[in-house]
Amino acid sequence: MFRLVTGYFTWNFLVWSAIFFFSALFLVLVLRFSKKQSGMYVSNAYKDDQETVGDAESGRWRDFIRNAFGFWFSLPQAQLLLLAVIVLFFALAVLSGGSGGGNA
């Protein structure tokens, strides 16, 4: 009873209930976010100079993260750096003397 066999999974009632519960929670969250977020991009795109103190705090945090990770998008010098890091890690992992015996 209350079971669905799809050929790949067998869903029982408990699983379905959990799915419906989380889906409902998800939809509530969407509605909640939608009220908070609507028009946000407009205000940020055109009213940066009217930020409140709280906005300035989060703006500084965003700037910090953007500066720290923004190199990812700065083509192409950063890509050479990324390539160098990848090669270095591979070389260290492979050529720095292995324990032998294949994979774990």
Binding site: F9, W72, G98
Partner: protein
């Protein structure tokens, strides 16, 4: 017989030759046009229909060809095609592939990848044909065809030299699609400096792969993956070759794409990243296998995957531009794929590990990888649409677009759900396998992955809410967005909904065959012919599902 529609030409060869030959013809036409223009010093009058109709015909023919190859390879383990003096010959062992001979390999994994790629090529082509802001040109089609030919060649490559050739072709195609553009106000010297960096990075990557290939060729004189593996012994030269080849392929997979607002070009960049991961699979599973000295490599991939997830998390929270958002979300998915790749490598080293979590990790990796391309294509198409101008502003800055772009908003929502692994979308099953495999290695890894999945979900909702909900913009002029991208999005939606509604068909036909193919490769690579293969179907049940009382197989 089925594979030989043209005399002596197997279908996989035709599938590679079609885009390359089309590119050749178009290249000749472009040269003639340039010569005509130079000679008459006037513009060449060309009707668009002469460009669009053949391209449309190519898109469908290409898809049909790859579908035929996939349907042929479906019940096949693997087969090889070698070009000799008497033309193409089909062999089961792959023997006879010399150092530089044309040598193709057909297995379910490669055929599935080629089919999915041709599907995305079709979507990107349709989008490109309908794009009014960036109309299609002969040059663009030429580089698209070149990239497509290279990518399909990668999927059917049977050896390291063939792989290099197709990598090079796809790189030339992708470079042609990107072509550094001089920004307004940028000095000539600075522009050349930037272009030089770009070309230097690409030449370096190709050179690294070539160096690894030459190292192996100089010692062993054979290029076929399986032949090379059979004779290769662990040593400094072999491990150095691995570093050069694997790091260059991994870089090409994980790196961000260029900032381009053309959806069809972005689809091709995603396709290339997808093909690079395939090449990485070939090199790791088929060429080197669990070679002594590579025992730390699975952990390195897990480390890189974790770093990619952190970077993606930071980038998605700070970038609202839809192209940047698309790129960051792709990085999320790449991070998950990389971690599942590390787990798969770690879990297929022994039969015990494979039975415990290796097969699940493989299923997870391949299903996430197959999901990468349609999701990336959908996000690229939507992201580029949101960059279009409306009443002096870009669409994404306006908010309330669900009233104007209802279908786009719906697909955006479905894509984010699939990406985040929400049930019942195909990403959900992949995540179940991934969590299970990760839990076998470390519960902290499971926790980290679960937290990151939740983060994708919330960031996705946050972004969608900001773009789609709220007060609708004043409708002074009509937004044509939905109509422009409806067809490609609709096709992607069908793919996502089909794989959600019939997961058994999706996994049986697409994922499990490829997993079996990889497992056979992995075990054959160990030269342990007597070892019994674990049945991939054993991993297809999840632990939290109860068996049905009284029902047996």
């Amino acid at each position: 017989m089925f594979l030989k529609l043209l005399p002596g030409w197997p279908l996989p060869v035709i599938a590679i030759a079609l885009p390359l030959f089309s590119a050749f013809l178009l290249g000749c036409a472009i040269l003639l046009e340039m010569a005509y223009t130079a000679h008459t010093s006037g513009p060449f009058e060309r009707k668009k229909v002469y460009l669009k109709v053949p391209f449309l015909f190519f898109l469908f023919l290409n898809f049909a060809l790859n579908y035929l190859v996939w349907s042929y390879s479906h019940n096949l383990e693997q087969t090889f095609f070698t070009l000799g003096a008497a033309g193409w010959a089909e062999t089961l062992s792959g023997a006879g592939g010399g150092s530089w001979k044309a040598f193709l390999r057909l297995d379910p994994l490669g055929a599935m990848a080629a089919l999915l790629t041709s599907f995305i090529v079709l979507l990107a082509g349709l989008r490109s044909l309908a794009d009014k802001s960036d109309p299609i040109t002969p040059n663009k089609i030429f580089f698209m065809l070149l990239t497509q030919g290279g990518v399909v060649g990668i999927f059917y490559s049977g050896g390291i030299t063939n792989l290099f050739l197709f990598l090079l072709i796809s790189q030339i195609g992708a470079t042609g699609l990107y072509r550094p553009v001089r920004a307004a106000g940028l000095k000539t010297l600075n522009f050349f400096s930037q272009s030089a960096w770009y070309y230097a990075s690409r030449v370096l990557v190709m050179g690294m792969y070539l160096a690894g290939t030459l190292l192996l060729l100089s010692k062993y004189k054979v290029s076929g993956f399986t032949q090379l593996h059979a004779v290769m012994q662990p040593g400094v030269l072999e491990l150095s070759a691995y570093v050069l080849m694997a790091s260059s392929l991994f870089f090409l997979f994980i790196k961000p794409s260029s900032y381009i607002t053309d959806a069809s070009k972005r689809c091709y960049f995603a396709m290339r990243g997808y093909a690079m991961f395939f090449a990485l699979l070939r090199v790791n599973f088929l060429l080197f296998g669990p070679m002594r000295g590579l025992d730390r490599i699975p952990w390195l991939y897990i480390l890189f995957g974790g770093a990619a997830l952190w970077a993606a998390f930071a980038l998605t929270t700070t970038n609202r531009d839809p192209i940047r958002f698309t790129e960051s979300v792709e990085l999320f998915l790449k991070g998950f794929i990389t971690i599942s790749f590390g787990l798969s490598l770690n879990g297929t080293g022994s039969a015990a590990a494979a039975a415990e979590y290796g097969l699940g990790a493989l299923e997870s990796m391949l299903s996430l990888w197959m999901l990468f391309l349609p999701i990336s294509a959908a996000l690229s198409i939507i992201g580029c649409l949101l960059k279009q101008k409306y009443a002096g502003s870009e669409l994404w800055t306006l908010g309330g677009l669900s009233h104007k772009l209802p279908f786009t908003g719906f697909v955006f929502f479905i894509v984010i759900c699939g990406l985040a692994g929400l049930p019942p979308f195909p990403g959900f099953i992949s995540r179940q396998f991934l969590y299970r495999a990760a839990n076998a290695v470390s519960p902290f890894l499971t926790l980290f992955l679960f937290a990151m999945s939740l983060a994708v979900l919330f960031i996705g909702i946050w972004y969608i809410s900001g773009v789609l909900f709220g007060k609708a913009p004043d409708a002074e002029e009509k937004i044509q967005g939905d109509a422009q991208i409806a067809l490609p999005l609709f096709l992607i939606l069908i793919f996502l909904l089909f794989s959600s509604a019939a997961p058994n068909h999706y996994y049986d036909n697409a994922v499990s065959k490829s997993v079996s193919s990889l497992m056979r490769i992995s075990y054959a690579a160990q030269d342990e012919q007597s070892q019994e293969l674990p049945d991939p179907d054993d991993s297809q049940d999840v632990p939290d599902v109860e068996p049905i009382p009284g029902e047996s197989e």
